[in-house]
């Protein structure tokens, strides 16, 4: 990626003016890494996210070899065990499933959906945004109409109707998120493309005979990729919230597949006796989303070429 980002900078004086003022000889990516290394808060958030991802990814191994529990194994004699019970550190739920183990497996589902759904929706948003901004005309009108339509149905209602029809599993939910979540990115990228299209380096590229696709992929996308990446982190946070809300309402991922949302839905029925079943899944959602937002914010600062002495 760093190559495609530095190439137009080397070719076109306009871009170099924007990007390389403070520390000459540093690529956009290099400068971003330099700034990120100094941004303690973002680094902490990244660390926490990495930890969550690793633990979730290793959930089967940790559960089997260290906790010696099966996340789906029920046990009528050991239900609603409180925190700190030997063998079940975070207790068990109403049918005796180990909470800690379920939280880790739920992390796989929740994080997986957020990452893949986020990448998908951002990818669609990026491509449609560049095309709408670059080609303009009818295509632009059509895309804007679709955006206006999707945006005027409250997202949760739209997801409800889709959930009613699809009864989604994780894969279907990812596709749905991808198909709905792109509107914001598209608008952002479209606006950026509109202004880039008129810049000298694009005009120059067109003058030497570059094709539309060449210009879009080699000159425009590298210039909008940074706002897209910032958006990715924030979209992933939003998707975790939306997925957990849907699963909580009972129309998202269905049990026994655990997600943080449907664990809360389950805990809701017993919450007078089992506050310990409500706090951990919710806290994990909050921490994950918060970290993603912080990372998004940190990336925005790190990738912003107009801030020079951060």
């Amino acid at each position: 990626m760093s190559e495609s980002q530095t190439a137009p900078a080397a070719l076109t004086p306009t871009k170099r003016l924007n990007v390389g003022e403070a520390r000459s000889g540093m690529s956009l990516l290099g400068r971003a890494m330099y700034r990120l290394r100094r941004d303690t808060l973002t680094l902490i958030a990244l660390g926490v996210l990495l930890l969550l991802v690793v633990i979730s990814a290793l959930a089967p191994i940790i559960s089997r070899d260290f906790l010696n529990v099966d996340p789906d194994a029920t046990n009528g004699y050991a239900h609603m065990l409180p925190l700190g019970t030997p063998g079940h550190v975070l207790g068990t739920d109403n049918i005796g499933r180990d909470q800690l183990s379920r939280l880790m497996f739920a992390g796989q589902v929740s994080l997986g959906i957020a990452v893949v759904g986020g990448v998908l929706s951002i990818g669609i948003g990026l491509i449609l945004g560049v095309m709408a901004g670059y080609f303009g005309g009818r295509l632009d009108d059509l895309i804007n109409w679709v955006i206006a339509t999707i945006n005027s149905i409250p997202a949760l209602f739209l997801l409800l109707i889709i959930a009613a029809i699809l009864r989604p599993g994780p894969t279907a939910l990812i596709i749905v998120f991808g198909l709905i979540g792109w509107t914001f990115t598209t608008r952002l990228v479209r606006g950026e493309t509109l202004s880039l299209r008129e810049r000298d380096f694009i005009v120059a590229a067109r003058a030497v005979g570059a094709s539309d696709w060449h210009i879009m992929f080699l000159h425009i996308i590298p210039n909008v990729i940074s706002i897209t990446i910032v958006n990715l982190a924030i979209t992933m946070g939003d998707l975790i919230l939306v997925e957990s809300a849907l699963s909580f309402l009972g129309v998202g991922i269905q049990p026994p597949t655990p997600t943080w949302g449907n664990m809360l839905s389950n805990a809701q029925s017993f919450f007078k006796t089992g506050a310990y079943l409500i706090i951990p899944p919710g806290l994990l959602i909050v921490v994950t989303v918060l970290c993603l937002y912080v990372v998004g914010d940190g990336l925005r600062d790190a990738l912003d070429p107009t801030i020079n002495n951060a």
């Binding site: 409250p154 949760l156 109707i161 029809i165 809300a245 919450f271 989303v289």
Partner: protein
């Protein structure tokens, strides 16, 4: 002004059309979709089913089905001599598969408020949905009010003390609140105030009454407190950030410098010249806020058993009661469109530059 209004109104039409098209197309994709579900009755013969399917138009092309759903079929196949059988038709076949004439169309279409009957409650969906709107409006209005009353002063104060403790604390809180799922916040608040402290009701709109109706709102404010707070939490956070940004932008304007140069007090500059003008862009925030409140209502109403549109939608989804799901989606979409229109009008009223551009 009226020209501007008309233009905005006309712009909303394709969007509304898009909403109906999108939801209808989605519903047709449903396994055993609405019409098929109606014709799925193990007790009828294949012949009867074919006839029913012909009358309901299951096999018609998509545009015809869509138009019938939108505008009804009473004008597509009608009976002019009063023998109970259709004798004229438009777009539709006059006769059934067996060659006998079909009865005239009876659907009025959603644009005339005919969303069909609920699969489970056996009542017109329109009546069911309309019965739920007051509860949602009540909760939404309270939440909007709370978010403005709390969010705005926070934003103004944060802007005035930019970079100081209050600004930093509210900034962190705003991000934190946005990261908290509404349903979890609701559960925690119910746990604390409903279960442990037992000072607020855990849900529903009012105490159960024999007549099934609720007393006037001032007699049941305690039922409103928790749902309003949960629904307003995210808008409070957004409003305060938005207000802060708007305030800081206003403060850098020339007329503020003029006001300072005239020797006005700090208070007068900030509040009379700054805050009042900073409020203008806030009007653009109202439309998305209404969409957010409607979406949030689905979650908040479910946790608090608040008998509004959101709870209705969630229940209908679980039961696969498609006519209700469709109606709630379209009404939520229409509500959002109206909210956006009001926002634009409001914006044009308070900022003359919009009207004339």
């Amino acid at each position: 002004m009226s020209k501007y209004l008309l233009r905005r109104l006309l712009q909303a039409i394709p969007t509304f059309f898009g909403i109906t098209l999108l939801s209808y197309a989605l519903m047709l994709g449903a396994p055993g979709g609405p019409v098929t579900a109606l014709t799925f009755n193990p007790n009828i013969t294949p012949q009867e089913r074919e006839e029913l399917a012909a009358r309901l138009g299951v096999d018609d092309p998509f545009p015809v089905q869509y138009v019938r759903w939108l505008l009804g079929d009473d004008w597509m196949r009608w009976d002019s001599n009063g023998d109970g059988l259709a004798d004229h038709s438009f777009l539709l076949a006059l006769d059934g598969p067996d060659g006998n004439p079909l009865p005239p169309g009876t659907q009025l279409g959603i644009l005339r408020g005919d969303f069909g009957d609920s699969f489970f409650q056996h009542q017109p969906v329109f009546n069911i949905v309309m019965g739920r709107i007051p509860a949602t409006l009540e909760l939404g209005a309270m939440a909007l009010l709370l978010s403005i009353i709390v969010g705005m002063p926070i934003g103004i104060l944060a802007a005035i003390g930019r970079g100081r403790a209050f600004d930093n604390v509210t900034r962190v809180l705003a991000v934190l609140i946005n990261a908290i799922p509404a349903f979890w916040l609701g559960l925690i608040l119910i746990l604390i105030f409903g279960a442990w402290l037992d000072i607020l009701p855990m849900g529903s709109r009012c105490a159960v009454t024999l007549t099934g109706t609720c007393p006037p709102i001032y007699q049941r404010l305690n039922y409103l407190i928790l749902p309003t707070i949960v629904l307003a939490a995210a808008p409070i956070a957004s409003y305060s950030r938005f207000m802060r940004a708007s305030m800081l932008e206003t403060i850098s304007k020339d007329y503020i410098r003029t006001a300072q140069a005239k020797g006005l007090s700090r208070r007068e500059v900030w509040f009379r010249h700054g805050a009042r003008n900073a409020l203008i862009p806030l009007a653009t925030f109202l439309g998305p806020a209404i969409a957010g409140l409607l979406g949030g209502a689905a979650v908040v109403e479910t946790i608090f058993s608040w008998p509004g549109l959101g709870l209705l939608a969630v229940r209908a989804v679980v039961q696969q009661d498609y006519p209700i799901v469709m109606a709630t989606v379209i009404i939520a979409g229409a509500g959002t469109l109206i909210g956006l229109l009001i926002t634009d009008v409001l914006y044009a009223v308070i900022d003359p530059r919009i009207r004339f551009s």
